[in-house]
Point group: D2
Chain length 345, copies 4
């Protein structure tokens, strides 16, 4: 941590800071420039953060140097990690396709969507039983009945299940059915939920908050990691900007940026960021060649009657094209797609 | 709801929409212009919303006309509401000052802050026992011990207590101590929490999500109202923008905009939006004359050692100036400050 | 300037930086902490900025300490300035009301608007003859004919004229009619225009770019100041955010923030930020008590037929209320409104 | 255009609107629903836009249906266009690589950069002689001397030249040297400049304003097209968001979105959006597979001493990898790279 003093800071201002830092068990080094004085702090940065140094007289700026997250940082864990979901890898050597309906509506619809997904090369099934919806009047999901449908479809298809959990009190129930727990964009800073999934013994898919900086996203992952769970996959799904033509703006740069900062795998959700079917294919391609470790897409056998986000779900023709693109671009990137048989393992 | 058809829409496209709407129990009126066809829908809008009309062939745009929220809307409840917190009114005829420490640390600190608040004209005490923090390494609050301190300070000062609840499972505990439950900015779309506070039998202070549109904020209030609780006070606390010189950008316009759309009272938090002590006074003044029904500020007897957000807490000198400003500007607005004695009632 | 080295920076990396800085005529001081090394630079910061220090091996971060603007900074000019427009002051001791039509349409309309403005206490007349419009199909202004109308209205009313200039090649023409040149939000980084108005010998009203940070805005002012013109008044007019209920989001905090950083006066435009008539009054009040040195509003005798921004123009009833509010709140702030007779001076 | 009336609109309100529209030469059709009345307008939309219908009593909302741009819209020109720059095509059947230094500094540096660009498959040379810089203290470009260097390098290499023009008064000079005129992000709404390049008889590269919606960008293109110049290539270069880890956020979705709305070619600038060398390669790949018609990148023989944006310039090793990626992904997209020999034509 570095403290930059104001031009008119007095020797007493400086002394006060040095004493405060030393009282907190740290060391303070004063460097005098021509027009400014800088104080470098050595010690426990998180403790310094509680000192309100920024509010001390004579202080112009306080600059934090070390990263605010540790367990998920690449600083002390330089090799990128692979997370396995019931045997299916998500990591730097593969491009994993996850697909399924936005919301589980019926067994027939979910099974049909899963078969579409599998035919397109998906090795994990997504599907929502608990749906966080902006309007209280929108369809809120089938709850545990939806989880039972997902388990049944897994039985039929062999596809492990990724599904969202929306409250800390549901974690145990959802974890008893699901192979991977998803934390949605609106819950990225629901800290009670993060801690609960950190203790649930399942891999976690952590979507980026639509308003979250990359640093905040990694700190949210740190909440999960702190509880002993490092099987975390990050998912870029678009951020909120002023542009109205897409629901959110996919921050494609986040893929390489996060991979530099953190060892965790990163996948991309092109369906929810754009909110438009015609963008899913170009954005999926873009994700793979930007280095994403996977792609997660909505599919629905009959999107025109979907209870949730039908306008963005892929249908049969789109999926064939998606399958071809992902296969070819995965090879271009020198990676492979996880084999279906691993799934059964 | 109005459907605008594309220039090249066919008669079959139009027929398909009319049939779909009628099958859903609605009526569809087709208006033919020179270059466009428009279809007006009459019936249950929320049901139409599940039809994915936007994805139908030939559709260019779907325009929703009625508000997405009902219970909190001013459309069917034109008079603005007053919410009472243990007798203290928040509403269109008053300007209510709420003050206290960001986080409860000790009994002494909380009591000192409460006395400062009361001397400045505050009639409600704020203070956090459960703190949602971006970093898992930051101070997370005293929990129930903090609630007991708040209850003790209420006993001493007569100030009713406003405190945050961060998870659905804590609502019952917090409600057993607090006079008003606060839902924080990061939890504005934690729907499980919204439903739980909707059933807790206490007034609710609903902060705007830092990334939430006004419409989303009112829909979050609707979640609470749906559970039978209309004692909701909205709190504007700044939104996330590209400007780095303040923590968030206070959206002062939100005050009159919300008051046009909803009958609920709206207050302003100038401490958390700016994150800087020197902005609290000008932003508090601005809030009162923009029509806010109250102001909520951080105070701390010793901000330089505060465990949370010390840089923005007001100290004694600031508070005197704040008290004078709020008193004079409240009179200018033709309103009054709630009397302290009401508090005891 | 401070350079923070990466944890794995080598002695050669450090040596390379020291040599580069010294070759550029500066000095570099190396401070070794426990886990990090920091290099403080002393010398010409603007020259260091060309060295691409951020791209050197081993560099983690480069932190600039001194402000990027000098002439408009308060650092070496601590007293806040007053700018005089044909005798009318805008500065820390007054609250100046500027009013007039968004666009000059006819002599009758402009004169009527000017009389309305004057009756409400305005001491400067605003009005656009050159209009930058997003659509090429929208009304683009009367050009020099509009300037002649403004001059005629000034003759009639005694109100000095503030009007926008949209291109460097028009500066001379506009300056020959106007008392103050306005640079609009879309031109805040039109550097050719900034330089031209810097040489025109007239005070300048510099609107904030709707996408500009406060630092960029002050650097735009620095472009004008560099050409020898320090008669610059800054105007906050809203920034672009995700909130759709207002055209832009008025950044009311910018008023006190800028006044801390720069000695230049700052006024507020509540008409263009909101784009809605019903917000002009509450936002004008908020501006005055947040410390703004003036307010600039649109008025129109018949807004329902205005050629530009009619929906936000004030009409007679609104103006009376605005006049009363500005008068009372100016007194509350311990300031005064410039007297009309000064105008004639 | 559709007018949605408020629930409490009176018959007189409706009559007033009908009369106003008819007086303006249009027709108004009133549709009565159960709870609302809607008025559809037929006629000249741009004229209706001047009527301030939104401000009329009883009006709740005014919805514009037709696009605000015409000449650049795909609505009446469904085939996507190819723009030729001195013979080099940019359009739907090719992926064109444009490369060169951010700023022209010396003949040697520019020539070395051009040879690097050409070796990597670039068929157009970019390079700035006039630089719009946020700080007045930053390097502002060599001006006409830079243009002469570019012309000399074109002579040597056969690469046509793309260069920025920053003011309307420079257009003629720049057009006398350049093969394509670039309008930069800060000038996207400098309407005088747009009109001047519209008349200069050269193809135009129009960068998206960092704060501009796609609709505003297309309206800026319409300004150029209106002057008779339809040889416009759009360039997505990142928008301003709250995320600080990249200079701007590349809006990769804009590529397919714009290609649906407009017939103009769209290319991507991955250098300026990220501002980081390590992002150029992944973002370039993403651009090609998202359907971009070209990519424009910064290269520099010695980025560590570049006078402008050195941290983002590609060096030799990067360029080889970029060349390989663009070649392979262009083939994947069923397109081709323009041949070098065309350049001479």
């Amino acid at each position: 941590m570095v403290i930059v003093m104001a031009a008119d800071a007095t020797p007493w201002d400086i002394q006060a800071i040095v004493e405060l830092v030393e009282a907190a068990g740290g060391e303070a080094f004063v460097s005098r420039g021509v027009s400014r004085i800088i104080i470098g702090l050595v010690g426990d940065v998180d403790q310094f953060a509680t000192l309100n140094l920024r509010g001390m007289p004579g202080v112009r700026n306080v600059v934090r140097i070390s990263a605010k997250y540790k367990l998920v940082s690449r600083e002390h864990h330089s090799e990128r990690s692979t997370v396995r979901v019931a045997g299916v890898p998500i990591g730097p050597r593969t491009v994993t396709l996850i697909a399924g309906p936005c919301a589980v509506e019926t067994l027939d619809q979910t099974l049909a969507a899963a078969r579409m997904a599998q035919a397109a090369g998906a090795t994990l099934l997504r599907g929502g039983a608990y749906k966080p919806r902006t309007s209280p009047y929108a369809f809120q999901g089938l709850g545990e009945r939806g989880l039972r449908i997902l388990a049944e479809v897994r039985e039929e298809t062999g596809l492990p299940v990724v599904t969202e959990v929306v409250g800390a009190h549901d974690v145990e129930t959802v974890a008893s059915y699901a192979d991977m727990l998803q934390v949605g964009t609106r819950n990225m800073q629901n800290f009670a939920l993060l801690q609960a999934v950190g203790e649930a013994g399942r891999p976690v898919l952590l979507k980026r908050g639509m308003n979250a900086t990359i640093e905040e996203w990694l700190m949210a992952a740190e909440y999960i990691a702190q509880r002993g769970n490092l099987d975390i996959v990050l998912c870029e799904r678009g951020i909120r900007t002023f542009e109205p033509s897409t629901r959110n703006t996919l921050d494609i740069s986040a893929v390489p940026v996060v991979q530099r900062l953190s060892h965790l795998p990163v996948i991309v959700d092109p369906s929810h960021s754009g909110g438009r079917r015609d963008l899913v294919l170009p954005l999926s391609r873009a994700a793979v060649v930007a280095g994403a470790d996977g792609v997660i897409v909505d599919v629905h056998p009959h999107p025109e009657i979907a209870l949730c986000d039908g306008p963005q779900a892929l249908v049969h023709e789109d999926l064939e094209e998606l399958a071809r693109s992902v296969t070819e671009l995965t090879a271009f990137m020198g990676r492979r797609q996880p084999a279906g048989e691993l799934v059964a393992g």
